[in-house]
Symmetry: C4
Subunit: 364 residues, 4 copies
């Protein structure tokens, strides 16, 4: 399951949008890996909803606004960022490009973009190039039965310079990934989740309700524990319910990431964008919010921010860029998205992110 | 009209969801029988609505819930069941697999699943293997002009160990089955509705309004009569109106089955799922409710239960499994559905069926 | 522009629904005539809406009703009818079948169905066979400049035994019939509107706003005039506005026909079914109402009646039957529709047309 | 990038609607020029919405109205017009037909239609034929940094007889024109924006947020300046927000053009038709309103007027006519649209534009 053909040395002239990378990517990725990367769970309703949700909002532009001094800067849980786009945690980069996470980190850094490194990454956090202005965050899963291992892992990523932790809590069991299963996808032996070495093995079971398996599922207690052992900001990823957003704050989380896991877990889940407005109401501005899932255009970033998010993350598009053109592809994907956001801000009359508000949105 | 090719001895690795069985089934079933099995009435609106109705509901998952002790058990009109999925009554199993109802009963029993035997089954109830933990129910049609025959039939199935009766009342006339008609489907002579031997013949007529034919149609009086002659629980199948749900209770029924007959009778009828919420309101928890029609995923079971149903029935998917892989195919279909339900419960944070409530649903 | 092939002597076994006739009809009809018959105006929105409108209503069936004595009889503006289905006025029958209106009249009579003869028919009203139980109505257009001709025409059809007049008022100019135009359709010289002989010619003009042309357009004054010169019931055809329904009554009309002219005039017009509920509200039961446009199933008839119509008319399906199988085809089309209505009534629990009410409908 | 084949000398008989011209046009236009002309921005949502918006409104026709004296005349900001259809400003006519703007002007004049000449036109305003009854308007973009050039331009077009100015303010930056980019479109050297000679060059930049670029963006102050230097009526083009409509009036504009720039700027913008009702509310009849975007039928013109617009503009259809058949094609496009409007007015019972009101509309 190595890449089908090497990434391009030069980006073709007709690659001008994220969807162009998506169109080309399957030429560069083994079919099973593509099934893993592109697929969602079950009938892929949640996957499609992530895209469809953005089409239900319109931006009502304002004319002739004063735009001098326009910029996209923001502060997110204490960190200054050049723009509100982050790279979401995803696994399997080495299946897609021989430089894997290193290429992604390089491309992200070129665009001053924070990278959230997945705990299933094939490259050790210590081996990633570090770049000023492009913070490195680390994503992990909690387990009720492995605090000792997790504490060691947290210490390791702290030492390696990670500046925030992202805790994914929407996948105690894997989703029903039928596309993967039908393609016969199995993570290749050569791609090792290097940060998970030493984790206690999961019980072998076929049932989500096996008590030994359930015993590994984290609860809010584990969130409070994590919060207690580190000084890094803790982001809770996978929030779709307003009630959980409130609980996240009560548990001491520093921010939440509204997400349906890229449509890869519960296929009946709403898209993150649909969930966002009610979540914003519930937390009343007391926590920063990132949204991911389905963002393919600068106008999508604009819409997410207008609905209250502070920033967005993109996952699959980064991997499409990686597959097609390596680190430059990753950088180009991020550059396109940022440029489109700036054009949308000019056309809508918004000189800063703070000017992007719900009054500019109309529901279709 | 025998099966096109024998059922597989081994289930292919890419058969991982109920829709995979549906995709393969036509290779194993004669075209006329497939038209009978797969088709609905008229333009098949009701058939499609059964599927579409589920896509209008989303499940808003809750995170980090305490799931220890999770299970899918329930008590349904006095019977303990391992999970809330039943096999709906369908006819023609012997057209689809040489082992017919016996294979279905075997597959259902392997998954501790109640089988509702159709009165049009080709296999006598006495010839079916009985399995502890997998109750056998019997489905019948009432007639205003055949109480004597019906009483004999009820005594027979009681003696054979049926533990509940399902009375289908939404089809005094057959639906407008154009797909069947165009395919030239006729029940083959070799497939005999063995339980109906001795029933008085219907008048030969082409008109639904022929007075001799109308004289056979049952009324609520016949339900009360049936209720009076047996101690078995009586389930009324085909309820779509809240008013009829109330009348069912007043007539002494022990439960209702909300159903549009798999889209095979009135093509303008709502889907069962659409009808469910208003019916739940009308009966206010006083009767147990089963829903059938369009359930293909564990998230569909979850949705039906969240809207108030106690359990669900599946019809066509069982026959797809039967056609493709015989009894193991039936068992696999049921196992997939139950496993998907468990995954959905974990991902939504519900340790028991009682935790599956409407607050977790959002309308799209 | 004669028929492509002669009508069948025997109706194929797989012709079991009106849509089957529609599927086959183009094999029997010259392409230009088909463009005329099948097409609507402009982009054919109104044509499609006529069909789509029915899919937005569901019938919530009632169970176990007492159906003894069930029938479909009704009284419509004083006439006893066996069922609520009429043949709408359409032109060009002789382009479709050599027996033209005679075959349609024969087929309609076989099913005790009133035929509304178009004033553009190619067969004289005096040449049509008359059948007891199948009334003959006559459709005409009014003109502000041709009362003398019109009075003569009315006297002629009265003398020929027409029992009602249908005045079509939604087409003072022809719709934008692009499909016809692109196909190069022209009414063949051999098909003559025999009832219009002697009518004053229309001014030759390309503009709908030519004052000489406008001078031919009828107004309510012409309706009152027509009402004053005949004792036949006068039905106003083409009503879509509740205000016009009220004016129709004030002008002395005996009934209204809610219609968008089969989608052949104003392409932005609503479908008749959509217009019906507000019209019913406006006339408050004081006028009988017929609906036409898009009726293809017994459940469609049911829906129209449940929304308040007394009867329905069908146009194109009759011509499909005529093309495929002549008079027997016409009769079969009507028989299918009536049988489907009866099945729908049984399945919904309605022994008479009066039982078909809005409480049985749900909006999708 | 010259036309693929010369325009036709004779209009084919099956070209009877604007969509027929659109269907044929790509045969006559180089692919890159077609991408420029036909494309919108990004994923072309706004482009499609312009068309889709009209399908959501229905016209409820009135019957038997008095239509004597019917006409389509109107007064628009002091100018008498024969009908409410204008030619929108578009560039690139010489890429499409060797006679370019001259042919468009000729065709428009033949139909007494005002032409809004684009400031990017390839033909000088002085070189256009002038026709009584067909006013010539001039469209321009403002710049904060080029008042001297702009004043010279205004004086030039005043001298050349332009009777109104249209200021386009919805495109300080170009939209994300991916279709153009993928096709490799570049304006050919032979097509020169002759009116822009002498304008200060834009800074070379790839960023919409480059301060030197932002310094060119106009603000309301520039509108007030333009208003102060000319006595011509000033129309503000690109309004989609009710607030901007109010500001336009306060800035002294004589009318507004509700438009999303043909779907070519902000892809998330609403269609002009969707924006219209709220804008009409905001200005309360105090400014005349033109709408453009998606008008392809006389019923579309009717709908726009019923929602409150005084007139409409069409862009792409004019260019389709130009490509297919030169000046006669342009005239034919306008003639079709006007005729369709008249037919719609007759069928809806409206003798004048003032009779076209919202009470005739229903939302689908």
């Amino acid at each position: 399951m190595s890449p089908l053909r090497p990434a391009l040395q030069e980006i073709p002239a007709d690659v001008v949008a994220l969807c162009d990378y998506e169109r080309l990517a399957p030429e560069f990725i083994a079919p099973q890996a593509w099934a893993y990367l592109a697929g969602g769970s079950a009938d892929e309703h949640a996957l499609r909803e992530n895209l469809a949700a953005f089409t239900r909002w319109q931006i009502e532009p304002r004319l002739l606004a004063e735009l001098r001094g326009a910029h996209t800067r923001l502060t997110l849980a204490g960190t200054e960022l050049a723009h509100p786009i982050l790279v979401a945690p995803t696994a399997g980069h080495l299946m897609i490009h021989p430089d894997g996470e290193k290429a992604v980190a390089l491309g992200a850094a070129a665009m001053q973009t924070p990278l959230v490194l997945s705990c299933h990454a094939g490259t050790a956090i210590e081996d990633l190039p570090r770049h000023p202005g492009a913070p490195l965050w680390f994503q992990l899963y909690l387990r009720a039965d492995a605090r000792s291992f997790l504490e060691t892992l947290v210490r390791r990523v702290e030492a390696a310079g990670a500046t925030a932790l992202v805790v994914t809590v929407d996948a105690p069991v894997k989703g029903i990934r039928n596309r993967e299963q039908r393609a016969g996808f199995k993570a290749p032996a050569s791609v090792v989740a290097v940060h998970m070495a030493g984790a206690p093995p999961f019980p072998e079971t076929q049932s989500a309700f096996d008590p030994r398996f359930i015993a590994t599922f984290p609860t809010w207690d584990d969130i409070r524990w994590l919060r207690s052992i580190t000084r890094l900001p803790v982001w809770l990823k996978g929030v779709l319910s307003p009630l959980d957003a409130v609980l996240a704050r009560e548990a001491g989380c520093d921010g939440i990431i509204v997400s349906n896991h890229g449509g890869r877990t519960l296929d009946a889940a709403p898209s993150a964008l649909e969930a966002l407005p009610r979540i914003m109401d519930s937390i009343d501005g007391l926590l920063p919010v990132i949204v991911d899932g389905g963002i393919r255009r600068g106008t999508d970033v604009f819409t997410a921010l207008a609905l209250g998010a502070d920033a967005v993350m993109i996952g699959r598009p980064v991997l499409h860029g990686l597959a097609v053109a390596g680190a430059p592809g990753v950088a180009h994907v991020l550059k396109i998205l940022r440029s489109e956001l700036e054009v949308a801000m000019v056309l809508a009359g918004c000189p800063t992110l703070a000017d992007i508000g719900t009054t500019l949105l109309k529901q279709r």
